[in-house]
Amino acid sequence: MAVRYGGPLKRAVTFHVPLALLVGATLFPFYWMVITSIRPDTELYNVRSNPFFTLHPTLTHFADLFELTMFARWAWNTLFIATVSTAISLFCGLLAGYALARLQFRWAPPLGMVIFITYLVPPTLLFIPLGDVVKTFGIGDTPWAVILTYPTFLIPFCTWLLMGYFKTIPREIEDCARIDGASRIQAMVRISFPLAIPGILSAGIFAFTLSWNEFLYALVFLSSPQQKTIPIGVFTELVRGDVFYWGPLMAGALLGSVPVALVYSLFVEHYVTALTGAVKG
């Protein structure tokens, strides 16, 4: 869409100033995390000192974070949980998405609809009975409590995205392989799946960020400190009653955000594809 502008002043007022304000408002909380995590406590808790910068940057908050809490353990838990639940969801979503997009069977339309509906079910609706289910299976307070429940929102998403992706791959390519003697499964695994790799990557990155960030299930299902994920650990272990340890809190918030921002920045285009693909009905 071509957009034309008036003179430089008009362009500054209608474009550059709003854009600068927008970027500033978007990024300011991240700046706040960074600056808080490196300011010494004497400055943090002094209403007179200018809060926007510091002349005495320190890494004590980071040291405290690792010494006084199990942050390293939480980071490992988060990585492990996000990776395994993403892998499970990609596996299920890939197979289901292929079946719904390619195979002809009577139940395809209603099943597609059911999966779409589960996609819209928010965790808030189910966390109480799900806590009971997790306990019944004896996986409460273990990583499996969330590894097996995150796929409830990741699989519908992956299925939906990959179904759309498979529909864009011409059927003729598979037909061709079938004629060359490939079985139905071989045509699927060796021809269609490799062609879907960009879609798989998009779904995987999106699913990874979703499970890295999840809060409610992890809060309810994981209770002992050594089982927690970063969002839960930082939130529950660095706030004691009314006392907030802001330095280590912001250091933890920063370190917990960096990995997922890094993954995102490496695959921005794939992420955006997943984001926009996710909402296309």
């Binding site: 869409m1 071509a2 957009v3 709003p18 854009l19 927008l22 970027v23 408002a25 978007t26 990024l27 909380p29 991240f30 808080t36 209403v47 809060p51 596996f91 197979l95 079946a99 195979l103 069977f105 139940w107 509906i117 819209l120 079910v121 808030t124 609706l125 189910l126 109480i128 009975p129 799900l130 009971d132 519908p156 299925t159 037909d175 061709c176 392989a177 060359d180 003697g181 490939a182 045509a187 890295w212 960030n213 809060f215 409610l216 309810v220 970063i230 969002p231 939130f235 809190l249 912001m250 918030a253 955000s257 997922v260 921005v268 955006v272 984001l275 926009t276 909402v279 296309k280 009905g281």
Partner: protein, 327 residues
């Protein structure tokens, strides 16, 4: 019909197969067909069943079953560590006589509608801005999504620190600019706290609107715009009469998705205010958690969660109707 279509490919591939062995066909067709399993998997509905099985097992165990269990809990007096018995609609009756619940009910709608409206307006404005050509466009667009990418809990903690009663940066700026003489307690009053919650929700959710709407804008053919301009339409008219109708479908879907997520929000509110001050900012999600997890009344909590369902159902029905109509 289909046979005619693939005939030329057949001759082609037959020739190819004669020249070089195809990498795909590992087993000769005769050997493969000999096994009954191979034969069974050639049938599409059998294969479909197999491929869908893992998904259906997980969704049945962790969505369908908990959903039914949730309905049972909502009509029982189950507490943590104690079996419950059927109490009919008593839990719902208790809810409707509970002033905190009624406040949460109202808050949920206020929070959802105001935040969604603001996200749509700001998201649209941002999308229109990002649709220009400018320097560093890629990196600016990528950084705009950051609030959406990072864990909400962690960014909300940063906001909580910015709203701190004593050390709020907003108060520091306002006081040093001479605009206020007394600190504002951002999270100390129900209405103001709700405003803060909405602001943080908009900050976090707006990028999702901006980026998806931008994707919609990029599919709009520039020729249509030029034609409208030649016909004398100004920028404002072009937006309302040309752009908006063209991106209406994607806009509608984004709004519905966002409304469900906002309506069922938990983490942002739980982290920023925990429903306080004086239980004035609870929504369904946080109040259900409070009752079920902190007061250990699982049945009562489940009945609160269930209030999300009618709204959710309405949105789903509307969405399915819309998809079917556009098909």
């Amino acid at each position: 019909m289909a046979d005619q279509r693939i005939e030329p490919i057949l001759t082609d591939s037959a020739r190819l197969a004669a020249a070089i062995p195809s990498p795909v066909a590992v087993a000769p067709p005769e050997a493969r067909r000999a096994t009954w399993l191979g034969l069974l998997l050639e049938r599409e509905h059998v294969l479909a069943g197999l491929l869908l099985a893992p998904t259906l097992v997980i969704l049945t165990l962790f969505i369908a079953y908990p959903f039914v269990l949730g309905i049972w809990l909502a009509v029982s007096d189950k507490m943590v560590g104690r079996p419950g018995s059927f109490v009919g609609l008593q839990n719902f009756q208790v809810n409707l006589n509970d002033t905190i619940f009624l406040r949460a009910f109202q808050n949920t709608f206020v929070y959802t509608f105001i935040a969604t409206a603001l996200k749509l307006a700001l998201g649209m404005a941002t999308a229109l801005l990002l649709n220009h050509h400018f320097h560093f466009k890629r990196i600016i667009r990528a950084s705009m999504l950051l609030p959406w990418i990072v864990p909400t809990v962690l960014s909300t903690l940063a906001w909580q620190w910015m709203f701190d009663a004593t050390f709020s940066v907003f108060n520091w700026v306002l006081m040093n600019a001479g605009l206020i003489s007394k600190r504002i307690l951002w999270l100390g009053d129900g209405t103001l706290a709700m405003g803060c919650l909405i602001a943080v929700n908009v900050w976090r959710g707006m990028p999702f609107f901006a980026i998806t709407l931008l994707a919609g804008l990029q599919t709009v053919n520039p020729d249509v715009h030029e034609a409208a301009e030649i016909d004398g339409a100004n920028a404002w008219q072009r937006f309302w009469r040309v752009t908006l109708p063209l991106i209406k479908p994607i806009m509608l879907v984004v709004v519905l998705f966002s409304m469900i997520a906002t309506f069922a929000d938990f983490q942002l509110i739980y982290v920023l205010t925990r429903g306080g001050p004086y239980s004035s900012t609870h929504v369904f999600g946080t109040y259900a958690y409070e009752i079920a997890m902190r007061a250990a009344k699982l049945g009562q909590g489940a009945s609160i969660s269930l209030f999300l369902f009618p709204f959710l159902l309405m949105v789903i029905v509307f969405q399915l109707w819309y998809i079917r109509r556009s098909d």
